[in-house]
Point group: C2
Chain length 251, copies 2
Amino acid sequence: MGYIFSLSNHKGGVGKTTSTLNIGAGLRNLENKVLLVDLDPQSNLTQSMGITDYQNSSYTLLTKRSNIEESIIQHSDNLFLIPSELNLSGMEIEIGSVPEKEFILKNSLDSVKKEFDYIIIDCPPALGVLTINALVASDRIFLPIQSEYLAVQGMSKISDVIEKVKERLNPSLDIGGVFLTQFDQRRVLNRSVLEAVKGHFGDKLFNTIIRDNVALAEAPVSGRNIYEYAPKSYGADDYRSLCKEIAEKYS
Amino acid sequence: MGYIFSLSNHKGGVGKTTSTLNIGAGLRNLENKVLLVDLDPQSNLTQSMGITDYQNSSYTLLTKRSNIEESIIQHSDNLFLIPSELNLSGMEIEIGSVPEKEFILKNSLDSVKKEFDYIIIDCPPALGVLTINALVASDRIFLPIQSEYLAVQGMSKISDVIEKVKERLNPSLDIGGVFLTQFDQRRVLNRSVLEAVKGHFGDKLFNTIIRDNVALAEAPVSGRNIYEYAPKSYGADDYRSLCKEIAEKYS
Ligand SMILES: Nc1ncnc2c1ncn2[C@@H]1O[C@H](COP(=O)(O)OP(=O)(O)OP(=O)(O)O)[C@@H](O)[C@H]1O
Ligand SMILES: Nc1ncnc2c1ncn2[C@@H]1O[C@H](COP(=O)(O)OP(=O)(O)OP(=O)(O)O)[C@@H](O)[C@H]1O
Ligand SMILES: [Mg+2]
Ligand SMILES: [Mg+2]
């Protein structure tokens, strides 16, 4: 009850937003109450959920222009969102000298943690103050890893950052799991990445692999998650199976 | 003579690094002297060029621990690199209060601009102080756009940021061109994105489209550019054709 997860990886385009949405909606479909948090100035999660009209956001929340209740909007049955806005990209400078700047998000989310079964944060592709806020607020970090060479290079850097946050800011943080995304069995490159990731993360690697599936890239156009847009697709099957693994491990 | 370009797009995974390397090497192959600058803490460009052993970097340059001559290393004939390191990810805070922080890179690169035909900067997936430094230092910004819905959403935001930098910091900055990456003719989604991008950028859109080609993702494993790794591939053809268009427009 009441877990806070972050989907984070400073490599860009690896499936953080796609996973936040489809793990969030998938866990909601397993009879859970879920809050998603869009912490990326690009607002891709907010766009993918088809949400365009809102007053407050993660930006107003972090700069204390709104409280947590005012910042949450209901998307659908048992699925809620704190949307984002482009102003977030100025956060580094705006809160750079605020004392305890790393704890601002944690302090806000802790007050509503008991009301949700899962709170899931979509992080930007960076290791700045927004991602640090997400890691400090989280119980577990989930790492989507694109099945490509450049995406694998950053693995050890992420592990270093997690260790540092764990030592100094959030002792209970741990890697909740790692999973491969955009996997295409026909590509030799993808298969060799799987071996490298197994070697680096061992039993943290989920059994489920998210295959490359164009339906996952099409679904956001109409603001729907994969289960609504293409319920029989590989994408829907893979994310359902990943949600089952997560729910078994964290319920 | 002596153009400075930035490959920038705050959307992650759209092909900024892949393009910086293969446009840089492609222009070098057309008898130009080229300097590449890795401004991304992930150091993907540095890794893609197979460079592992270096003293200085764009981080030491921006924090004035090294001068420009000490920060440049020669990769191969007429191709040079300023590598990057993870410490770059702390730049927002480290130079956040330095006066004229947006001009640090420009002041360094201007002193060597005449020695190169092209200087090309690989930007991180963000709109922070590193990308602003790159845009202030540049004559032209080149936008790789992944042929997917989420990547297209950010187009108007990028145009806004460019306008702001042009008004306040660098009046000569302009969009040098826009090109589609990872394009797969079979996907309806990719074809509809092409229409949207044409509508938004008009004649700034290059004729060349970079097709989805696994050789482009494999080449970095061995630290080679696409012309060395798979000279007859779609990827090599497409980037050669893009380089021709760029060289005709800016020579
Ligand atoms: N398994 C998949 N198969 C096919 N396309 C996918 C898959 N997962 C994600 N995509 C698409 O790939 C692109 C990148 O995914 P997404 O935007 O979720 O990554 P991200 O890590 O959130 O990116 P950023 O670093 O910009 O935040 C998107 O266009 C998305 O629709
Ligand atoms: N045309 C292409 N066809 C196939 N794969 C590609 C193509 N262009 C890039 N890639 C691969 O897609 C991934 C993303 O590309 P790249 O890392 O160059 O993007 P980026 O915009 O620099 O990412 P980031 O936002 O993390 O800096 C890489 O694994 C790269 O090898
Ligand atoms: Mg995202
Ligand atoms: Mg890159």
